[in-house]
Structures are given as C-alpha cells and as structure tokens.
Symmetry: D2
Subunit: 350 residues, 4 copies
C-alpha cells in the first residue's frame, strides 16, 4: 500500500509478443499505472478483445502512436516497435519529458557505421551515443541515471551473461569463441509468415542465420568492452519447437588449465549478489522451462579437461529476461525502485 504516486507508463507496439509480455508484467507491478497502449494495426480495439487473456484485467483501448501525446500521458515509455520504426518516435518522447526504454535494436549499437551496415540509415544518431545499454548486471549504476535505455537483445543477454565473468577476469582466449544458440519460436514474432506457421516449425529443428545474424554485432560490441579489446564470435542460432526460451551453449578456450570448481568460483563471485542470475552447482545445467515466464538467467558451467575447453550453458526466457522482464528491471532501476519489484514470479511446472 504505497503512498507514493505510481509511475505512468506507456507501451508502444503493445500487440507484438514483447509488448504483451510487458503488459502482463506491468499489470502485476505494484508501482505502475499503464496509461497508454499503442498498435497501428489494432487501434480502436480494446486490448482485452485482441488478447482475451486480459479480460477482467485491463480495460484500455489501443491507440495509434502520437509520440507527443504519449509523452504527456507518461513518465516512462517502453517502445516495442520494430527496428527502424522506433527511432522515429523516441526523440519526441524524450523531448517531451518521458524516459524511454527501447526494446528494438535501434539504440543498442554504439557506432553509426555498424548500425548502417546491419540496419541502414539512423534517424537519431546523437541518441545512439547518449543511450545507456540496459544490461543491469553489467551496467547497473549507469542505468539508474539513464533517460534512454537500449534494452538488450535476447540472444545477446544470454550470451553476454554467460561470458562476462570469464572475459572480465581475462580467463579465456578472446579469439575463437563459439556460441551455439537455440531459441523458441516466439523469437520469430507474432505476425504470420511462412517461418512461424505451426506445421513448418512443429516437430522439427533447424539452424538459421548461419552466415549472418543481426545479434552478432551487438554481442561482439559488449563482449569487446568486457575484454577491453575487439573480439569476434561465431554465433549459430537454431529454431526449437517450443513457445519460449533461449539456451546458449558457449565454447571458449581457457588461458590456463582450470577445473569446473575453479569456474564455479569465478561465476559465483561475479554473480553472487545478483537477484536474477542463478549459478548452478557442479554437474547441473539449465533447462529453459525452469526460467519460463521469469526474469532469471540460469547458468551451468563445465570444464572439459580432456579438450582443455570451457563450456558455459546459459538459459533465459527470450520474452522475459530477454526482453520485457529486463525492461521492467531497467524501469525499476531508472525509477529508484527495488530492482526486483514485480519480477519475482515462479515458472509453471509443467
């Protein structure tokens, strides 16, 4: 029963999977009032009619985006708009006084040139530099002061959290790192396309984006910061027949001989106080269902003494810690709230 006024929040692009997950989390958040939900396709409809799951829980109507109006109604805006759309609205939101957490890729990269190479021209280049990269475990203090937070991609979150302790402590060779990643189908988005038709993805498994995937530059940018030197990574994503979940299986060479126990000490020290990173015990490895619908990142490590190779396995829910949950975590930090507020739910079994 807090006396302080609630945060007035808007969600742009509230009918994509990331937007819906945000609304789900925000409705359970004790310090938030949702004032605005936008959707270009479904403007005018009640949110609970588009997503009957929300019957009895959300009375809002969807609106078209008017960034200025949204800014007036809110103190915090989450943009779940597509890449290259979000950047056209974010400057206005900021100019008119809202803090913004952007869940698209538009502000994740630091360098205009890299952005241009992967996405095209940027309409708000100065904000690229002023944004804060929203991975709380690595960037907590900066996020507290941010006015524009670029919420990390799902694959980057799992991969960076899996490698951060070892890169930071300079325990692995920075060349030749391999990330073999696996994602549930919600990563392909909600709008219909041949790729996400049930019959095409059910009961099957395949790699995709083997030669080029847009999350690679983001991962490399952040890992390079951790390593304090430029590095490259091999990133191979696969599509898995399940709704949610990402598992990153990462292979890296140690600088010197180690053991699984040594590795665990490093990870436990690095993440010991983190509320959302759970380092598993020796011989234990993550299971995406254990983090489904939660903001946890579960990490299991193994030292292959025969090969002298480190194996890190890192699991998140792509829509939660990989998107909306992490965005709420960022909102909590940017708003002076306890970081875990509204994020302590447990995964369903089964």
């Amino acid at each position: 029963m807090s006396i302080e006024p609630k945060i007035r929040v808007g969600v742009l692009g509230a009918t994509g999977y990331t937007g819906v997950e945000l609304v789900r989390l925000l409705l359970q958040h004790p310090n938030v009032t949702i004032t605005t939900l936008t959707s270009e396709r479904s403007a005018g409809e009640k949110y609970a009619d588009v997503f009957p799951t929300f019957r009895g829980q959300c009375d809002l109507k969807l609106e078209k985006i008017h960034a200025k109006e949204v800014a007036k109604q809110t103190t915090m805006v989450f943009s779940c708009l597509p890449h290259q759309t979000s950047m056209h609205h974010v400057p206005t939101l900021i100019d008119y006084g809202s803090k913004v957490i952007d869940l698209s890729a538009d502000f994740r990269l630091d360098k205009l040139k890299v952005f241009a190479e992967w996405y095209g021209e940027h309409s708000a280049p100065s904000l690229l530099k002023e944004k804060t990269y929203g991975l709380p475990e690595l960037n907590r203090e900066a996020i507290k002061d941010a006015f524009l937070t670029a919420n990390p991609g799902c694959y980057p979150t799992a991969t960076i959290l899996g490698l951060a302790p070892l890169l930071k402590e300079q325990l692995i060779v920075t060349s030749g790192i391999i990330c073999d990643a696996k994602s549930g189908v919600s990563g392909a988005g909600r709008p219909p396309k041949q790729l996400n038709v049930y019959g095409e993805v059910n009961e099957t498994l395949r790699p995709y984006g083997v030669d080029k995937h847009r999350h690679t530059p983001e991962i490399e940018q952040e890992l390079s910061k951790l390593a304090a030197k430029d590095l490259l990574i091999r990133f191979t994503p696969h599509l898995i027949p399940m709704d949610r979940g990402i598992l990153a299986t990462i292979y890296a060479k140690p600088i010197k001989k180690m053991s699984t126990k040594d590795l665990l000490l490093v990870f436990e020290k690095f993440y010991g106080k983190e509320p959302f990173v759970r380092v598993l015990g020796e011989g234990q490895f993550p299971n995406t269902k254990h983090v489904r619908g939660t903001n946890y990142c579960d990490i299991g490590v193994h030292y292959d003494a025969r090969m002298e190779l480190i194996i890190i396995t890192s699991a998140i829910d792509n829509l939660c810690k990989g998107a909306a949950g992490q965005a709420v975590q960022n909102m909590n930090l940017m708003s002076g709230l306890t970081e875990t507020t509204g994020l302590m739910g447990t995964a369903l079994v089964p």
Copy 2:
C-alpha cells in the same frame, strides 16, 4: 505490508504436479508462510533441488508426513496426497487443530456407498458427511465456515460451472446431458508411466475412460443438487498433447426455444459478480491458453436453433482453477481474506 500474522501453511504431497502448483501460488501469496512440505519419495531433499525452478525462492526441505507434527506447524494444510492415502492423514490433522483442504478424491463424494463403488473402503466415513464441497461459486458461504474442504476435481469444476446456471434456473432437460471433455497431459500426473511418456502422447489425440471415469459420480452428485433431482451425464474425456488445460464441450436440450442472447443473459446474471468466471460474448469461445496458469474459468455459449440444442464450452487450467488455484481460493475464504488474494496473475502469451 500487512500487520496481521501470516497463515502457516503445509502442503502434503508437494512433489506431484498439484503440489508444485500450490507451492508456486503460495509463494506469491502475501498472507502465507509455508512451514511444511512433505514427500515420501524425496524426503530429506531441498525442494529447490527437486524443482530447480524454485531456486532462490524456497529454502524448505521435504519431510516425510507426520500428521501430528504437521498440524502443530500449521493452521492450514493442503493435502495433495493420492486417493485413499489422504483419508488416513486428514483426521489427525483436524484433531490437532489444522483446517484442511483436501485435493484428493477422498472427501468429494457424499455417500459412502458411492465412494466404495469407485474407490473402495473409506477410513474416515464421518468426515465424508462433515466436509464442505469446495466450489466457491456455488458454495461460498459454507466454505467460509469449513474446517475440511473437499477441493473439486478438474473435470467436475469445468463441467459443473458450465451447467450450473441452466440447471439452477431449470432451463434444460436433465436427461441426456453430454460432456465431451479434453485435457492436457498433466492430468495424468507426474510419476512415469507408459501413458505419459512423451512419445505416446505427443502429436496425438485419443479418448480414454470412455466406459468408466471416476469423475462421473462427482459430477453427477453436484449437478443433481443443482437440478434438485437425480440426473446422469455422459462424460467422455480425451487426452490432448499439451501440458495444461481442460475444455469441456457440453450439449444439453433446452426446456423451451431460446437464443444465444437468452443464454448469455442467464450466464451473465449468474456469474456477473464472480471474479474468476468470465462469460464470453456472442460468437466467442474459450481457448485454454487464455486461462493457463490462472484461476479463471472462461465460458462461451451457443444456441443451435436448427437442432434446438445448447452448446456450452468451459475452459480452465486443470492444475489451477481445477486444483491448486481453487484450493487457494478456498483458503482465502476459510481464512477471511479477500477471495482473489494471490490469484490475479495473467496467462503467458504465447
């Protein structure tokens, strides 16, 4: 930040699917402290080791059942023990002062003879009569005063809620009612058996228990009370390749000609103030994913004017409104709490 003392709660049989769902809900409940979790198979292990989902959320160890000890540690006990096991522990719990919500079938039937026919001998026959049937929408006031609540079965919950308004208002013929029901695989329980092996149930659909299903007498008992006369029902369950969810498709003959609008008026009047029953609009029908992990029962109705037949479709999560969620709803009533406390989460999309 309530000042009143929390309810001290125990869960017997905490490692079955129903028990886990209870623990998930109770951990989120603001007025509850879990003091005791039991499991005969896993006694001595930490709960979070058996279910890694609970790492960082539950520090309890599993114990073997000592009913007397459990009663001392609790004011409310949920029994998720198997049929014919539960009835051996419940009397002791009650004698030593705990209220009990029993999620087995041991106290659902009213008549000893019927129990004997379907399950065998009853070890606590007097409690069969003294228990309260825990379907809050029909029995709210009695539950508030109950010391032993028999939590309804999953199929009965969906079926009874689907038929209650029409039987109560005497709008349907009481003979010839058909319930064609469909359930996710968690209904078959967590212990391994050929029936719930992945390869046997994945990508397939089949009826089961066509000639005899133990939920039939429970359904008929409660529907007969509503109709104020004895009635029979045809009940055909089917197994569906999904974790959770029940859909009951019910067919009944109207006493007189009606329309879908007429039907909706009846249902809206009956359930208008119910927090957990959502009557859908004309032309809308339930989807089990919309209620997954929630305590909602979604109901859609249709009047087939060509056939003069009423079709009612009723969806719940078998583990939540069909078991653990309803049990928490009962606990809230039995404890003088707001009925919806701890039960207002939204289903994941997707």
Copy 3:
C-alpha cells in the same frame, strides 16, 4: 515390374499441404508417373527446392495452370486448388480427356442451392450433378466408372464412416446426432495466417466454427442418403496442437436397447472386408497417431447402458484418408488397379 503403361498424373495446387501429401503418395505408387505439378505462387521453381524433403526424389518444376496443356500431359488429374478456383479448371480438363479427382469442396455438394448458400455461385453446375462422391466404402462401384470424383472433406470422411453402419441399418434415431470433432492444425492450411501461427495454436485447445462450419452440409447430405431421409447434425470442431489427425466423437440415440457387443457386430459386418477401415475390439478406442500418414480409418464404439446412448469414435489422418490418400484410393478404383496399391505404409512410432 508391371508391363502395362503407367498412369500419367498431374497435381494442380501442389504446394498446399494436400498437394504435398499427394505427391508423397504418388511417388511411392508403382503404377504412376507424375507429369505435371502446378503452383501459382511458386511457378518456375523446382519442387524439391520448395520442399527440400523431396530432394533426390522429384525433379519436376512447378508450372502455372494451363488446363488444356495439363489435360494433354495426363490421364488423371488431382485438383488441390482452393474452393471456387477448382471449378474453373475442371471442365476444361474433362473436355480434353483427363479424368479428374477434385479435392476442393467445389463438387461435393449435390444441390446448386446449397452450394450457393455456403460458397456462392457455381461456374459448372452441370458437373455438380454428374460428379461421383468419392467415398469408396459407400460408393465403390460408381467410383470405378467416374470421370469426375469429388473427394470428400476430412471431417465428413471421419463422421460418415463412423455413422454409416448404424444409419444404413436404421439402428439410431436420426434426430439429435452430435459430432464433437477434433483436428490437427494442418487442417487450417499452409499459407500463413494468424490462426496457424505457432504461438497461437501450440499448447492450447479451442473450439471454432461453432455456429457454422462448411463441412456441415456435406455431412448432412451424405448421412441423409444413408438414412434415406433428411437429417441434421450438430457439428462442433476443435483445433488440437498437433500436425495431423482428426478424431470424431459421435453421440447418437439407439432405436432400441443394445450392447457394445451388438454394436461391434454391426460395424464388423459392415466393414469386415474393407481394407482401410479397422473396427477396434471392445474397450478399445482410436488414437490419431496410429493412423498418421496412413489411409486407415480406425473406429471404436461403446454403448452407454446408463444413458442409452451410442458413442462412436472415428480417427483418420486429415491429409491422408481425409484427402490425398482417399484420392489415391479413388484413382486406383477409377483406373482398374488394386484398391490398396501404394497405400499400405505404416504409421511412424512415435
């Protein structure tokens, strides 16, 4: 090693799920050469590039439809075109000498008026009357002489086969028959739409088309012939999270008291010599996985003595016995081949 010349076959609309299933079956058929595959969307592409499953098995390129040309290249054409498209090509194919098996709904209904009510204007009304309804178990002799066979719909196949013995023998009341049907997602077709996106249908169950489904008039037409009087049926389809399979659970009232054994005698007599209808023993019921990828229809029956109600459960693969397999069965009959040729594969386990 047959000496007789192979049947030259064309498939119109070869890139929908029904078309692909046909190609799969025809490639295994010892008496067939596929000469022509058409697709408006993918014309010019190699079939094995669109469906990599067929690499090394099919070298054909997809063409646009030129009905006259197709007729020249073939003696038998399967049309898997959409409703209201097929009827524009079929007359030309027939005029130029090909026999046609039409898998759309365009020729299934007998009466122009009923067609108009459900689909709109018909461009080839005389063929509506001249076609043969292609359900071999009921219509074998006529099919042998047919030049245009209307291949039954998937739901109608399961439902009609389930009811035929009882209607033919006048053992059930013709009013009040209920068919509660369940189908896998491939029934919704291959082109992307919100309805068949993985996240919308995975892990969930829902009814659809409750107030009106286009298969109803086809079912009623054929059942009425069997009953020798007009009858209506309540038909409620549900969408099940699996690729393939239909289960029809049918409820009908007996004319007089019976037993399950009586029912089995009726079904065994009626279907005893049928190669593709398997009547299951007492207490056994179908499982869609047991017929997946096959041309079988598995039927299990039960007499509910308490309710005096007959329950028939009938399972097929919607794309095989419900479409392409039955079409090949019809081709065999129309071509003087053994009816089971090319159709004796077994379902995968699991």
Copy 4:
C-alpha cells in the same frame, strides 16, 4: 515379383522404439519375411495389440528369446536389445548360422579396454574384433562380407558423416573439434522414466551428458580412423521437444583458408554417388523434419571467413538413418540386394 526366396528375418527386442521402426521398414521391404519378433515384457501378446498401428499389417505374436530357435527360423537377425544384454545372445545366433546386425552398443567399440571403461565387462570379446562397423558410406565393401555388423549409434552417424570428407582429405585441424548435438525425445527410449515424461520434456530445452556421454568413444574411434591419427572431440548433446530427429552442429578449424564453395566441392565429391547423403546448396541448412522417417542424412556447410572456422550441420532421423533404416541398408548390402531397397519413402509434410 521376385522369384528368389525372401530373407527370413528376426527382430530381438521388437517393442522398443528402434525395434518398432525396424518392423515398420521390414514390412515394406519387398525381399523380407519377418519370422520372429521377441520381447521379454510382452511375450505372448500379438504385436498388433501392443502397437495398434500394425493392425491389419502384422499377425505375429511376440516370443521370449531363445537364440538357438531364432537362428533356426532366420537367416538375418536384428538385435535391438539393450547394451550388455545383446552380447549374451549374439554368439549363439552366429554359431547357429544367422547373420546378425546388432543395434546396441555392444559391438561398436573396437577395444575391450574402452568398452570396459564405458560399459563394463564384455562377454564375447573375440566378436568385438571380428564385427564390421556398419556405416555403409565409409565401410560398404566390408559390410557386404560381414556376418556381424555393429550398427552405428545415432549421434555417431550424424557426426561422422558430417566430418568424414574433411578428415579424410586432411582439411581440418584434428584438435579442438566441437559437436553441439540436438536430439528428439525418442532417443531416451520407450520405457517410462522421469526423463521422458511429457511434462518434463515438452516446451523445454536442455543439455545433458555434458561431462560424459557414451557416444563419445564411438565417435572418436571412427573419426580417428578417418584422420589416421588419434583425436578427441567435444560432444554436447541437448534434448529437444520433438519425437524424432538429430541435428549435429559441428565446428572445426581449417588447415588453410577456404570458402563455402570450396567446402561444398569437397562434400559433393565425397558424397556425390551416395543415395542417402544429400549435400545442400550454399546458404541451405538441414531441417530434421525433412529427413523424418527416412534414411537420408542432410548436410549443409558454411565457411565463416571472419573467424576462419568451418560449420557443418548434419541431420538424420535418429530412429531411421540413426538406427533401423541404416540397419536395413546394412541388411541389403549383406544380402546382395540393391542398397536402397525398401528405404525410398519420403518424409511427411507437415
């Protein structure tokens, strides 16, 4: 219509997933008569009662194993018995004149010491040396003369076929090879255990056997032969929520700079005449559904020029090319039949 007598075949352990897949394939094989099916658990039952899929296709009864009797009834025996059981029956079968294809791990390893380390004592050590390793693409001529063929494991088949051309041509560094493998749940077998219960594996993804997996020594043994030097491999399997399918994603360092085109030339030359290995074009990668139920191995390759790293993706059906299909391929070779006989079916779409 062959005049030559059919091969008389027995299947030991015919009720496990591998055994059932064998029966399915053998029933479709034009040169085979199945004489004997054994099962310790289900002896005395009709096969079609245990697996109703086979109703109307197989009339055999299951028997207990009497190796001597089986040998009399057969010329070829497939043993699908568990590891360390098979080796007790194989010597008798051979002594009494049957050829044997063993699908367990009992004869795959060459060295007694390695076998002992991973499995325990071997009861027929001389046969370990005399057996032929049954990977036809690498060992065809030897298999033609074999009397005891050790059928490769599923993971080894996918991995060895993926690496063979590069190791044989000495194009990759033999240290540091990584195989990140993914398998459907049927790999865990048919008998119920917590691991393969639907709710435990559905909608989730996890690594397993990260520190030790029994397929590692088999893979290393065969790769070392190809490389003509001892090598080690990092092998990390993952469990995927689908019935069938294996995908191996393999990472290896080139000896010198290459391109994807160079890689494709190597693979196309190596596998150009193979009926069951399909090398995909540039930018194409396998999809396990494309090989489901078939004997194909689909391979896609990519050269990562930034990292100077080779990525090979190799997909098979674990029960078919990874077990029963490959066993039939071996039977064809051992019996002087065309290698592809009975194995040219196409995968279901979808």
